[in-house]
């Protein structure tokens, strides 16, 4: 029932940039001497700073999660369906913070930023970040904003991994953790898709081992293919069938017809790849997919997820989507099982949807109902 989806908007928003000069020690041993984080906020922080919610973005996400930057913007932020007045993450109640993660390409320090030591763009030399590095930098942002404890840390997909890591690294700094369409670690199949996408980028002659900026080129073609591969895995077979079927974009199969026949799905995927590769940095894509691959919640806890979650002190909401095969409901159930084994509070729902992994972004009546109810019962 998408027509019943609430339509409230946070309106026009303006991003802020915060420079951090305290060195950030990264998981791989590198040190980021200084860095910028660009972020947006929606709603108002209350007196006791008890109503703050952190949004962690996924692979291709960024700080612009809700509202518009200008009235002429064609589309609102990436999670506008669920953030706004009267929406699941109700900005009439919550103060929402959404940032662009380190290593990103939307304003926070990343491969396209200048490395102060060399005076040149970091490019491929930008440190290989892990999910916990983002969590630590997000904690610095929380300090800066005067937020001691988040009412909730929320994320879908790669964002869910950050939310879970928050619950282990800073157990006293969040009261609720919402993990949507995520997993405690990627499967071999998932890593395989990511590697194929990376190879598409790296085999583009314009990639130049990641130093394409120096050559004043851009591996647009490779990044475009990487996105096409990713996009296939974000949709479900049924969803794709419903939307495109075998509809033809051009040409026909009449006898004697020599001209190229093109399916709608081909043109759609190419458009997605084209659009994405025009706005996203290839090195960031490689960095983000590697962070996804490297993530393993319980690696340092004897590979026992319940030992990992034993660190946490918050309540959990775990959501999955029936047709999501990239982060299947089974992966979410593993999270739930581990939380139960660790004797932690958890609520779980599997939402019926034909939208595959993308379902976490798409309007869905039950998803909205469950998500809203969970957020509403959070005390602030």
């Amino acid at each position: 029932m998408p027509h019943s989806h609430p339509t409230g908007s946070v309106g026009i928003v303006t991003p802020s940039t915060q420079r951090f000069t305290d060195p950030l020690i990264l998981a791989n041993g590198d040190v980021l001497e200084e860095y910028d984080l660009v972020y947006e906020t929606y709603g108002t922080l209350n007196q006791s700073a008890s109503n703050a919610v952190l949004i962690c973005h996924a692979l291709s996400g960024h700080h612009h999660a809700a509202g518009k930057h200008s009235p002429d913007d064609r589309k609102p932020g990436w999670w506008d369906n669920y953030i706004g007045p009267g929406k699941a993450i109700d900005t009439d109640r919550f103060f929402v913070v959404s940032l662009n993660n380190l290593g990103g390409c939307h304003g926070s320090t990343g491969p396209v930023s200048i490395n102060p030591k060399t005076g040149k763009a970091w490019g491929a030399t930008f440190p290989r970040l892990r999910v916990r590095d983002w969590v630590h930098s997000q904690a610095k942002l929380a300090d800066h904003l005067g937020i001691d404890t988040w009412a909730a840390v929320i994320g879908g997909s790669l964002g869910g991994m950050q939310a879970m890591r928050w619950s282990l690294e800073y157990p006293d700094r969040l009261r609720h953790c919402a993990v949507i369409a995520s997993a405690m670690k990627l499967s071999a199949q998932n890593i395989a898709f990511n590697e194929t996408a990376r190879q598409a980028i790296m085999s583009d002659p314009d990639f130049h081992d990641g130093d394409y900026l120096e050559f004043d080129t851009y591996p647009k073609h490779g990044l475009s293919i990487a996105r096409m591969i990713g996009h296939i895995t974000y949709l479900s077979g049924d969803g794709m069938g419903e939307k495109f079927g075998r509809e033809l974009r051009k040409g026909n199969f009449n006898l004697g017809e020599r001209d190229l026949v093109e399916f709608e799905i081909e043109s759609y995927l190419r458009y997605q790849g084209e659009r994405f590769s025009g706005t996203f940095d290839a090195n960031t894509y490689i960095l983000m997919t590697r962070a996804l691959d490297y993530f393993d919640l319980s690696r340092e806890y004897g590979n026992d997820p319940s030992q990992a979650f034993a660190q946490s002190k918050c309540k959990f909401l775990v959501l999955s989507f029936s047709s999501d095969w990239r982060f299947s409901p089974q992966r979410s159930k593993e999270i739930v099982d581990a939380l139960i084994a660790a004797r932690k509070p958890v609520t779980y729902a599997e939402i019926e949807s034909s939208h595959g992994h993308d379902a976490f972004l798409v309007p869905n009546a039950r998803y909205h109902d469950v998500f809203s109810r969970y957020m509403q019962q959070i005390t602030i």
Binding site: V346, T347, Y348, R366, R373
Partner: protein
């Protein structure tokens, strides 16, 4: 039909861990949490019930007891496993009961008595499957696919070596109340069993 919650509550140890299978709208778990500081989870399949649980702050897990296994729940990992008015809707009630006794140190089960005199008379006189205010379904659309009487249930317990610690018979009116003292399987409408 909420009289059984008081009885169940009596049998649950304060500050214990409870798993409620087919927890419905979460009323029991929410009450056990507020009255007895119980930490619990509810498993539920109905999306409206799940929503109600979430609003009550009950830890609810979407789960289909007929098709999803309970393997991931450790042996004796809960103090009490509860199932109220749902055993008769299970595809494999005996298997669910076995799992409950594996996961819980104790179990509490309640179900409607198909041996109640109204059901017996209905079938005897009308020759049709009983339909009443407590059992309002026709045979073809009823979720209650495995009806039993108190005797049937106790026979199963005996067969499987399940100990009945307590049994409380719930009745709605005074005739049943008096009768149930002598003939519980004839006058009792609902039974609450405390098992181990």
């Amino acid at each position: 039909m909420r009289i059984d919650l008081d009885v169940i509550s009596q049998w649950v140890t304060p500050s214990s861990r409870v798993l409620d299978l087919a927890c419905g709208d979460g009323t029991l778990l929410s009450r056990l949490a507020s009255d007895k500081s119980v930490f619990g989870y509810g498993l539920e399949i109905d999306s409206n019930h799940i929503s109600d649980c979430i609003s009550k702050g009950v830890n609810v897990i979407e789960h289909n007891l007929d098709t999803d296994s309970l393997d991931t729940f450790g042996d004796a990992s809960f103090d009490t496993v509860i199932m109220t008015q749902a055993l008769q809707t299970m595809r494999y009630p005996d298997k669910v009961l076995e799992e409950m006794l594996r996961i819980g140190k104790e179990c509490i089960v309640t179900f409607p008595n198909f041996g109640h005199w109204k059901a017996r008379i209905y079938l005897a006189l009308n020759g049709r499957m009983p339909v009443s205010d407590i059992l309002p379904y026709e045979w073809y659309d009823t979720p209650n696919i495995h009806f039993c009487t108190f005797k049937d249930f106790e026979f199963l317990c005996k067969q499987r070596g399940i100990t009945v610690k307590h049994r409380q018979v719930v009745t709605e009116n005074s005739i049943d109340k008096t009768g149930a003292k002598f003939l519980p399987n004839f006058f009792g409408e609902t039974a609450i069993y405390h098992l181990s």
